[in-house]
Amino acid sequence: MLGLYVHIPFCRHKCLYCDFPSYSGLERYLEGYVPALCRDIAASPYAGQKADTIYIGGGTPSILSAKDVGDILLQLRQTFEVTADAEITIEANPESLDGEKAAAYVSYGINRLSLGIQSFSDRMLSFLGRIHTAKEGERALRAAWDAGIHNLSLDLMYGLPGQTVSDVMEDVQRLGDLPVDHASIYSLIVEDGTPLKHGLSKGLWTLPEDEAVEAMGQAIHDQMHGLGFHHYEISSYAKGPFESKHNSKYWTYEPYIGFGVSAHSFDGTARWANMANIPRYIQKAGRDSVEGERVLIDDKRAVEDYCFLALRRRVGIDKGDYARRFGRPIEADFGSVIDGLAAQGLLEATKERVRLSDKGLSYGNYVFGKFIR
């Protein structure tokens, strides 16, 4: 079944580290963007197919009015056969979420919310260029809960300048006190072209040593386990059944279709991204193709992608699924790779599955690289 992704490329303020397709100061396009999205969705060649996840991401989707969100969801339901039990997620930032808006989300069928908290330290938040405080973050989260969204996720970042292991543990503790069942926890990555990179090169800030960042990652892992979270994917934790069904589609080679600028899609045979230019998208959506170049996934790339994506999840690769999809056992393609990595204690292979070991979880990129031939 399809996953549907909708991209909202607007932010009130662009964060220091962000190199994702999101823009501040382009709000004048907001008015035209939502109708364009609806046209884009309505014209989808995949119309009529069943979908069991919807994810409205960004950017900052909560910057939209509740009505806009309602219109988008309505269009999705009109175009696709969205299942009754579909997971419908929206990303929100604390400064643009209140109880009223959250209640409206619930009325449209939204049943999952991911809040971009990033940190519970006001010092860190202001460094990152976030425009909310720790208190506002907690307030927004409780508002969502009170409105009836009981599948809540948080984003947290670590490895920030001036941050220590105990700061990070404090963040996790605060997370534990909130009604949260899912968290995406990732480290600050310095991307080219960001103000972060520029400032670091000028010596404005200093990142913590690699060893310290490693220690933070380990501390988070241990503490999250203590709180009852399960490290089900390299950068995601969940309690019980609260794994993100939509994100899991990315890792399990399931199809997903993206709408909006720079949205990514995979239909099982090709991957593509939409155009990035907002005015042009508004002009073309529903009338002309808004897709960028399609990359056809040949057999070689398919098995590579399948493995490195599946291994991101702790349950790893289902050998039976592999054989069904590709018509041969995984050992025919990666037997010696798996043996080598297992010998190094990075993979665990059973009759049914191949998965990262506890040690392998820390060296994912090394392991994944071995599957790229």
């Binding site: 992704y5 480290s187 990652g217 993206g258 995979f266 990359v295 190094q344 994912g364 990129n365």
Partner: protein
Amino acid sequence: MSTDHIRNFSIIAHIDHGKSTLADRMLEMTGTVPEREMEAQLLDTMDLERERGITIKAQSARLIYDAKDGKQYTLNLIDTPGHVDFNYEVSRSLAACEGALLIVDATQGVEAQTLANVYLALEHDLEIIPIINKVDLPSADPDRVCKEIEDVIGLDASDAIMISAKTGLGVDAVLEAIVQRIPAPADEEDKPLRALIFDSHFDAYKGAIANIRIMEGSLKPGQRIRMMASGKEFEVIETGVFLPQMHPVPSLGCGSVGYLAASMKNVRDCRVGDTVTLAERPASEALPGYRRAVPMVYCGLYPVETNDYDNLRDALEKLHLNDAALLFEPETSSALGFGFRCGFLGLLHMDVVRERLEREYDLSLITTAPSVIYRVYCTDGTMVEVDNPSQMPDMTKVDHIEEPLVKTTIIIPKDMVGTVMEISQSRRGQYVTMDYLDDTRVSLVYNLPLCEILYDYFDVLKSATRGYASLDYELNGYQSSPMVKMDILINGDVVDALSVIVHRDFAARRGRALVEKLRSLIPRQLFQIPVQAAVGNKIIARENVAALRKDVLAKCYGGDISRKRKLLEKQKEGKKRMKQFGTVEIPQEAFMAVLKVDES
């Protein structure tokens, strides 16, 4: 037939001074090659030659020229290789001529390589015609360059010809001067055949082809010939001339330049410098100057993929057909598996062979650091020649070691003398002489150990002089030196392919620089990897390749997995040409690192 109408000449020039361009213009202006078929630098046939702007294989061309005196002349151009590695080939090409064009760039002046070749030409009593090229360039200074030719070489440059090979300016005067100033070959048609082999190449249909100059006598198909050095005999199948492609002719008369094909299986049947005579009526003496091409530099060549071994052998055999100077024999390394020890005339020759193997035969290779030949005198009175550090006898059994020296001539602007002396002395050079070429340029002569030239002398010299230095060298005997074998241990094990022979006093410094370099080249693995340099049992340097860092967790937004994949592909890119050594992966560059360390 008389030889009056024949002129045989070569062109002497430094790289980029315009040799190939002038040759092209002469081919064009004599109608030898119609303009529409003209391809730039026609005589450099290999892609590599065109790319690098150097001539590796000598090429010849016959030009038919209608001179101003109303007569028609046959001008034989013998193009010569332009690099110190091929000095011997140059000397044979010059021996096949009566004259030479000396091309000097009007914006640059005389360079070391030019000088070396002019001296060679003078040794062969060639008539030399100085030509100043690129006079059309704004920075041209023909007067200064003429004066330099007079002062440095001692040639009368008053009748030097001013040309621009690029535009064709003055090229007619060059053709006329060849006729007027270069003597015709001596007419010795009646004597027994003596033909000089000045080059050879392999033709898939005709076998080895010898490029020859008939010094005495004449030659035609059907005759039985004898190679005077090897004693081998063959029946001539075809004689011909170069237009510049091969063109059969019924016979080659005295004084002429052409080729012979005689069903020879490989180029070693017709070695450069050998004399061809007739089996039935042999000459009593061979032409002077023959010697076998001797490799000066050795290295190991190993396939990255072990199952490419047979392909590498086949490729080497094919190149060998056409390259008498290339030696190879199988060797085994515990680190690299099965490969070949190969001998070359010099570094350029080595580079060219390696590149051709990779490009023309699509092989991925690991090259070990080049080594010179050491004469190792053992305590039991025997001497062994060692061209591979891993073959070095146990040091307790070694009495002393001799290493090859080269006499090195370096031409530089005078304000760089201090720098170059320092570089030369720090690499164990012994000062020989210094001459002022003119007010601004100096020729320095040093005796240097050849291994220092291979190590980094070229590169350091080039960068320290910002490319202004030109350099030439020739083998100049052996000297006894306190050389030691330095081993490299990775993760506690000696990697035989990384061993080097160094001067005792340099071992510590080079060891440190080398392990430092290796540390940066060896990719991190799950555990820390010690990298050590050792002489005998003594560890003289150590570095650690730190263990792999744990991943940082990165967010994956909106299903953009191409970003993740690109990261992994980039990571993979850096891991090409890895050789598994025990539990450690060693990249190809590591084996060449020995040559490219920065000691400063």
